[in-house]
């Protein structure tokens, strides 16, 4: 290149770098796992997933206090509640103590005439009262007599029982010494509700840290007591921290490894620094373009940066080693160009993925690679000394050539490997796809186990079945919930479902409250009717003065609003069912399986759906979240299969057009073999593939095609000595790739380790198979 052009190129490069740095300085980096959760197709599904991730349910933290003895755990539990109760970071802090329970009991008891669905004009006629009181007396003679007896004087019609009825069958946390304890009694348990939504991971992290520090500073705490926490917020903070530390570790170790490798090959500091220029430029432009394209950059995208180091460094390796050989780079650039094009084709397929994380990765890699190769092509040559002081690689080159020649003669090994791989895939009868969404989660087994235990301790069901709908405002949401409740109640009687919750149990619509008030007779009328009702009963009206006073209060009290529940456990439940959204309300009503029959923990949703439809409630959708998420995941695995196949096809077409079909086939066969063998290796190890393994396979094809291309085109590159240079550079480049992806493979973040291990194994196999197959037959 002419010096003037070179100066211009240098200027452009500097300008782009400066711009990139400026963009990166303004970039928001995120590190939660949501980018690797698929964007679900339907708005309804998206809404539900959002709720589970960010909504009221995700704001719940399950806390356990372990160690010490029961008395100590109880003391700490009480202290912790008293310390946290007034913190603005928590909207609810509960440990099951009678104070909170009483608040809930009082809410239900004091407001029973507005809350009880049984309150109708007929029930408060003389005959209705007679029947209701008789029912209560009958209930008193039964097993629950002691409870009923207590409420009789003020609630002879048993409205409290009507309300309690809605909670029957609910599993409750175990109580010991007035606080919640775990099922095995070895842990005191608490329930917190964070004020901040799941969208603000920083605030959630701060609140969780607050809990830890408050616990650590409780006075006279026994040293052997400890705090455990779980819940969606705990999980997302945990995985964010893991990702952050992983990204740092990977970037540091990855750079160190590649630098070490290059130093080993080049034995020259200036060359090493030159070699890193395309890498750094690529990374900067990559991050900047993701930032511009997506508005933020995910930490995991940075994690993949190390792999870009592996890819981008290849170009300077090719350049230096081949330039040191002194050969004319015309053919060389043509091959590089083709290699870059195939890589870009592969990464472009990623850009169309529904996983935001993967499309970021695609954009990052494409822009990074293009930059790296442009810098290598137009900047590096000008910066390079005229005569490269590269150590003589002809010695290792000769050894390497012998090795590669040997590989070429061992071509049958590839056929054998192919057969073995096919045999494994055919005879090893297991589903090669992992269908569980949490396969991608970076949460440890221990944490998941703790989560399941704490949920069990607190009596929470795992929210698998949900009936949901949205409504424009709170009142219409509650009215629709009331209509739905009637259907669900019938279904519960028929044992189609075991139980359910609806928000109107806790807060009836204003219309219903008003109707119930209207059903209550005025004081004098009520007294007369009661006296009439009591004739022939073993009860006298003057013993029921409290009842008359309460009815009068119920008739005239202000209607209940959301504020009426403030500070009660019921308000946490209501928050999770009646959710305010920017344009309206979302109602989520959990359904419990009946626990009977052969499919005890499943609900026949078709029956629920048809029952709802019969009551013109088809706007209420019922879903099995487990099935839903599995289905979403399946559809994305399918999508990934399609785009990976399209990516591979595009690469094939590209190769076919540029170097002829025969050549293309010679390049594709070793790649296909490498892919099959990787799948077979995972299968034989019992590892089920996820969408990310699939992405890894696509990258194997995209990266591996470079090796095959170089082998296949090497003859055009000049003399035998020059070809040896090419081969040395290929092996060094391959080592860089295998190292950087292999490093990813060691990550504790599944998303990184799945792609890393796939590409590391695949790239190595691709090189070996390419040497066997695509290489021109050795002339010996």
């Amino acid at each position: 290149m002419k010096p003037r052009h070179h100066k211009l190129a240098l200027l452009v490069w500097l300008a782009v770098m400066l711009a990139s740095v400026l963009v990166i300085a303004q970039t928001r980096f995120v590190a939660d796992l949501s980018a690797f959760m698929p964007k679900v197709p339907s708005a309804r599904q998206q809404m539900l997933i959002d709720q589970l991730r960010d909504g009221a349910i995700a704001r719940i933290v399950l806390v356990g206090i372990e160690g010490g003895d029961e008395a100590e755990r109880g003391r700490l539990s009480r202290l912790l509640v008293s310390r946290l109760a007034h913190s603005p970071r928590f909207t609810s802090v509960q440990n099951g103590d009678s104070k909170t329970q009483q608040r809930d009991q009082q809410y239900f008891f004091n407001n029973r005439y507005l809350l009880s669905p049984a309150v109708t004009p007929a029930r408060f006629s003389a005959a209705g009262l007679h029947a209701a009181i008789q029912d209560t007396l009958d209930a008193m003679s039964g097993g629950a007599g002691l409870v009923v007896k207590k409420i009789l004087p003020r609630d002879p019609t048993g409205e409290t029982l009507q309300i309690l009825d809605q909670f029957i069958g609910e599993s409750q946390p175990r109580t010991s010494d007035d606080i919640w304890v775990s099922r095995d009694g070895k842990r005191a348990v608490l329930l917190l509700q964070l004020a901040e939504s799941g969208l603000n991971t920083d605030a959630q992290a701060a609140a969780l840290e607050d809990v830890r520090q408050t616990f650590a500073s409780l006075p006279e705490r026994h040293a052997d007591t400890r705090l455990v926490m779980s819940g969606t917020s705990v999980m997302s903070v945990l995985s964010r921290n893991t990702i952050q530390s992983e990204v740092e570790r990977l970037a540091t170790v990855g750079t160190a490894l590649v630098v070490a490798l290059l130093l080993l090959v080049y034995r020259s500091l200036p060359l090493l620094l030159l070699g890193l220029i395309p890498v750094v430029s690529g990374a900067l432009v990559g991050i900047a373009s993701v930032s511009l394209g997506f508005g933020h950059v995910h930490g995991l995208t940075l994690g993949f940066g190390t792999t870009l180091i592996g890819e981008a460094v290849d170009y300077s390796i090719y350049l230096f080693i081949q330039r040191a050989g002194g050969n004319e780079p015309g053919h060389f650039w043509r091959t590089i160009r083709l290699g870059v094009l195939t890589s870009i084709t592969g990464f472009a397929a990623l850009m169309f993925s529904s996983f935001p994380g993967l499309s970021q990765l695609g954009l990052y890699s494409i822009s990074g690679l293009v930059t790296a190769v442009l810098v290598t092509r137009y900047i590096l040559p000008g910066l390079m000394p005229a005569r490269l002081n590269l150590r003589d690689l002809s010695g290792p080159g000769l050894v390497l050539q012998k090795g590669l020649d040997f590989l070429t003669r061992m071509r049958w090994v590839m056929a054998a490997a192919l057969l073995a791989a096919v045999a494994v895939l055919v005879f090893h009868q297991q589903d090669i796809w992992n269908r569980q969404l949490n396969a991608l989660s970076s949460i440890s087994k221990e944490q998941n186990k703790l989560d399941a235990e704490l949920r069990g301790d607190l009596g929470g069901n795992d929210m698998r079945y949900v009936a949901s709908f949205s409504a424009p405002d709170q009142e219409s949401a509650l009215r629709l919930a009331e209509r739905t409740r009637r259907v669900l109640q019938d279904l519960a009687r028929q044992r189609v479902i075991g139980g359910f919750h609806t928000p109107d149990e806790l807060l009836p619509s204003q219309a219903s409250q008003w109707a119930r008030q209207a059903a209550l007779p005025a004081a004098t009328e009520a007294k007369q009717r009661l006296e009439q009702a009591l004739s022939g009963m073993p009860l006298q009206a003057d013993q029921l003065q409290g009842f008359l006073a309460d009815v009068e209060h119920g008739r005239t009290q202000p209607l209940l609003t959301r504020q009426s529940l403030q500070g009660s456990a019921a308000s946490v439940l209501l928050d999770s069912m009646l959710i305010k959204r920017p344009n309206g309300y979302l109602v989520l009503m959990p359904l419990r399986p009946s626990g009977e029959g052969p499919k005890a923990d499943e609900i026949a949703l078709d029956k629920v759906r048809s029952a709802l439809e019969r009551q013109q409630l088809s706007q209420v959708t019922v879903i099995d979240l487990l099935e839903e998420t599995t289905a979403i995941f399946d559809s994305y695995t399918h999508e990934a299969l399609v785009f990976s196949s399209l990516g591979c096809l595009a690469i094939l077409v590209l190769l076919g057009f540029t170097c002829g079909w025969l050549q293309a086939v010679r390049v594709i066969i070793p790649l296909g073999c490498a892919v099959l063998c990787v799948v077979a290796i995972f299968d034989a190890c019992g590892i089920q593939l996820t969408i990310l393994h699939l992405v890894g396979l696509l990258l194997v094809v995209a990266i591996g095609s470079n090796y095959a291309l170089f082998f296949a085109n090497k003859q055009q590159l000049g003399s035998e000595a020059e070809q040896r240079q090419v081969e040395v550079s290929l092996v060094v480049a391959n080592l860089a790739t295998v190292t950087s992806f292999g490093l990813l493979g060691t990550s504790s973040v599944p998303v990184l380790s799945f792609i890393g291990s796939t590409v590391a194994i695949g790239a190595l196999l691709a090189l070996v198979f390419s040497a066997m197959m695509a290489r021109i037959h050795p002339r010996t």
Binding site: L137, A139, M140, G142, G143, I168, R174, S176, P538
Partner: protein
């Protein structure tokens, strides 16, 4: 001679007393031999605010070692099944409720008073109650006073009376002065 007589009298009295006074261990051993049985019951609850007692009746079935079923037929059908650690309540409208006794110590104390008595499980009884006993094999009365303060706030004492291995009456004295009395008539036993 008089000394001998006195000695003999002491012996006789001691012997007589032994025959008349039943020990808790003996009673439990006797009760524990029964394997299963069914009975009918009539229960009356005397409650201060009510002019007359509430009466209910139904059937009882016990299968050793730990299954007890109380099926109320009048005035309203209801069944309570206690099996192992589980207490299941089923109401006339078909709704069911299950409670694990280990989660509800006060419920456990309550139901153990009957089940442990029927199965002769002294350990279980003494875990929750101070046990008192008087009378003879032919007619014994056992009194159970709750140990847990929470339980004592509700039930002040449980009195169980019977003849040999048959439990005849169970009486719950509530802390507020109300009481209930259950009269049991055996229909079969093994």
């Amino acid at each position: 001679m008089s000394k001998m007589l006195a000695g003999l009298t002491v012996l006789l009295i001691a012997g007589f007393c032994q025959a008349a006074d039943l020990s808790v261990a003996d009673l439990m051993q006797m009760l524990g031999q029964k394997k299963s049985g069914t009975a009918t019951f009539v229960e009356k609850k005397y409650i201060a605010v009510l002019k007359q007692p509430l009466e209910s009746s139904g059937e009882l079935a016990f299968t050793a070692p730990d299954r007890l079923e109380k099926r109320t037929l009048k005035p309203k059908a209801e069944s309570v099944v206690l099996e192992g650690n589980k207490l299941m309540l089923e109401r006339s409208d078909g709704r069911k409720m299950t409670v694990a006794l280990s989660d509800r110590p006060e419920v456990a104390a309550f139901v153990e008073s009957i089940r442990a008595t029927l199965s002769g499980d002294r350990g279980a009884l003494e875990r929750f109650y101070t046990v008192g006993l008087n009378g003879s094999t032919e007619q014994w009365q056992m009194s159970l006073t709750p140990i847990q303060p929470r339980m004592l706030k509700v039930i002040s004492q449980i009195r169980i009376a019977g003849k040999q291995a048959q439990v005849r009456t169970i009486e719950f004295l509530q802390a507020d002065g109300d009481r209930s009395e259950m009269v049991i008539t055996n229909t079969s036993s093994k």
